[in-house]
């Protein structure tokens, strides 16, 4: 066996054998291409059976669907995509903002003061077990179907995980680091914000990044149920009309948004916590 063939064999069969960056990109791109090819084949196949099918639209039909979302509506002059983006992302921003703020206050308090830990931990553990989608009925009743309701659902969904991430991160800090800070003349406030907080910041950013997905799930679910604008509403409405050429691009926008947020959060982490990215803990 030649060296090249042997290396290829090792890469294919060996456990976690490293591959080059170029190869990683090539394999990653080919997986997306394969998906597109499969979809194309499926669509062509379906249209041979039923030429008016809209459940697996052709690329041409998909283009029409995208244009429809971007075009100004005849009656109102509004564009769906702008309306939906504004509605969904303002709700997401509002909900995540409230969620992160409350989780930060709760997690920090529980990690710093034992009495806060004793008070909030049982409540938090209890609420963490209730699926946020099951709480929708409560929030519809309490807040109606306006912005506050969406914010409450997202916040309710992300607070337990985020607060516990912060709390557990603080609990993990070696006591000697805190004792040493005291011998260096740090006040309690300085220990909390200059010693403890920077150590959990990268984990907090990771947790926020991972919570964007669940937050989107809660939001889209609520929009599907009671929304009159937004991604969830549009997907529900258009799927009922079997306009999948609008639905699939909307799903792609959501995927792109998620990818963008992920990359953005990783960039923030690299900027704020270079030590963590380099492998420190």
């Amino acid at each position: 066996m030649t060296t090249k063939r042997f290396l290829l064999f090792r890469c294919l069969t060996g456990i976690r054998v490293p591959i080059s960056r170029k190869a990683t990109w090539a394999i990653g791109t080919s997986s997306i291409l394969l998906l597109l090819v499969l979809y194309t084949w499926l669509s062509i196949h379906q249209h041979k059976i039923n030429s008016t099918d809209t459940t697996i639209p052709t690329w041409m039909q998909m283009g029409e669907g995208i244009s429809k979302a971007f075009a100004a509506q005849l009656r109102t002059g509004d564009r769906w995509i702008i309306e939906d983006v504004l509605a969904t992302f303002s709700r997401l921003g509002f909900g995540l903002g409230i969620g992160v703020f409350i989780a930060f206050a709760l997690g920090m308090s529980m990690g710093v003061w034992r009495w806060m830990e004793a008070f909030f931990l049982p409540i938090l553990s209890l609420f963490a077990k209730i699926p946020p989608t099951a709480m929708m009925a409560v929030f519809f009743t309490l807040f109606g179907t306006e912005l506050k309701m969406y914010g409450a659902i997202i916040a309710f969904g992300v607070i337990p995980t985020l607060a516990q991430t912060i709390y557990l991160g603080l609990k993990d800090i070696a006591p000697e680091r805190i004792d040493k800070a005291r011998t260096l003349g740090a006040s309690t406030t300085e220990i909390i914000f200059w010693i403890m907080f920077p150590q959990i910041l990268p984990k907090l950013l990771d947790a926020i990044r991972l919570q964007i997905g669940p937050a989107m799930v809660f939001l889209i679910a609520a929009e599907v149920l009671v929304g009159d604008v937004g991604f969830g509403y549009r997907i529900r409405l258009q799927s009922r009309l079997l306009n999948m050429n609008v639905v699939y691009p909307y799903l792609a926008y959501l995927a792109l948004f998620g990818f963008g947020m992920d990359t953005g959060m990783q960039w923030i982490q690299r900027k704020l916590c270079p030590w963590y990215v380099k492998g420190g803990a």
Partner: protein, 317 residues
């Protein structure tokens, strides 16, 4: 020699667990005291009492820096620096920032820093801190590592940074809690010699009639290290004659050994033959575990000093 630290009849227990009992000693300015003891005998607890991280159940820990007023230790402070075996460095700060952290926290407050950012005074002050920190790191042979994070350094380098971090505060007393325990033999000896350099600075200062700048308590379980680095060796043990004193169970570890140790220069070779007698004595009394040691028989440091058997800064006490 002026006394700088006094531990008077201090006992310490956690719940039902008796850790220290009747610990009583005084330390003079400029001494390096090796504190020995078996694992779990309360060495770190003693260091925590002195640092003010915990309070004794009974007894007093006091410091006396100006030779006049004794101050009871009630909480940690920048006058007592501490270095741990696990380094205790902050992973989010570079070596330089780790060392310059103390001056930032001790010499300024949050409002002052915030106002200083507006007026520009904070930047000037910070520049001074960083300059001083860099000088210290260069002195400790870490000139190339100032911008590196702790996880990018070797164990020996991290421990040097940790010592520099404590020393930048000019602590009156430096507490070292098994600082070289996790290091290889060569690095360990290298750092031991670094402490001997500090001791030499003490001897020079005393020779010039100035107060010795470094008083160090080195907690270790390595007998050779305590004797090589210290001018005095103390031993803590749970095996002492507590039954004769009327206790039905061990009331905690106490100081069972306290004697002068030979003083070495940083350039001297670590000739262990020179102190094999003392080493065997310590091994038997402090680590023996099967003898009812009478502490008063082996805690003779001050009588040795008064009989002019002291070395280094204790010679002229």
């Amino acid at each position: 020699m002026k006394l700088i630290l006094g531990v008077s009849n201090a006992s310490f227990q956690v719940g039902d667990q008796h850790i220290l009992h009747g610990v009583d000693f005084k330390i003079g300015r400029g001494q390096i005291v090796g504190v020995l003891g078996a694992s779990g005998c309360g060495k770190t607890s003693l260091l925590n009492l002195i640092a003010g991280i915990t309070r004794p159940t009974s007894g007093i820990v006091s410091v006396n820096y100006d030779g006049q007023e004794e101050i009871e230790v009630k909480e940690p402070g920048p006058d007592r620096g501490i270095v741990y075996q696990a380094y205790g460095l902050y992973p989010f700060l570079t070596s330089l920032e780790n060392v310059a952290l103390g001056p930032k926290l001790h010499l300024t407050t949050i409002p002052r820093r915030m106002w200083g950012r507006v007026t520009g005074s904070w930047r000037r002050m910070r520049r001074e801190h960083l300059k001083h920190a860099e000088e210290l790191l260069v002195r400790f042979g870490l000139g190339d590592a100032v911008r590196k994070y702790p996880h990018e350094l070797s164990g020996g380098m991290r421990q040097r940074v940790a010592i520099a971090q404590a020393l930048i505060m000019h602590p009156q007393i430096l507490l070292l809690d098994e600082p070289f325990g996790a290091l290889d033999e060569a690095t360990r000896e290298d750092l031991q010699r670094m402490l001997l350099v500090l001791y030499e600075e003490n001897i020079q200062a005393v020779g010039q009639g100035k107060p010795a700048p470094h008083t160090i308590l080195l907690v270790t379980h390595a007998i050779s290290e305590a004797i090589f680095v210290g001018d005095r060796v103390m031993g803590l043990s749970r095996y002492w004659n507590w039954e004769e004193q009327g206790f039905s169970s061990c009331p905690g570890a106490t100081v069972v050994y306290d004697k002068v140790a030979p003083v070495f220069k940083p350039t001297d070779s670590a000739d262990f033959e020179k102190f094999s007698g003392q080493k065997n004595e310590i091994a038997r009394l402090v680590f023996g575990g099967n003898v009812n040691v009478r502490p008063q028989d082996h805690c003779t440091f001050w009588s040795q000093v008064h009989a002019n058997h002291g070395h280094g800064v204790t010679r002229d006490a």
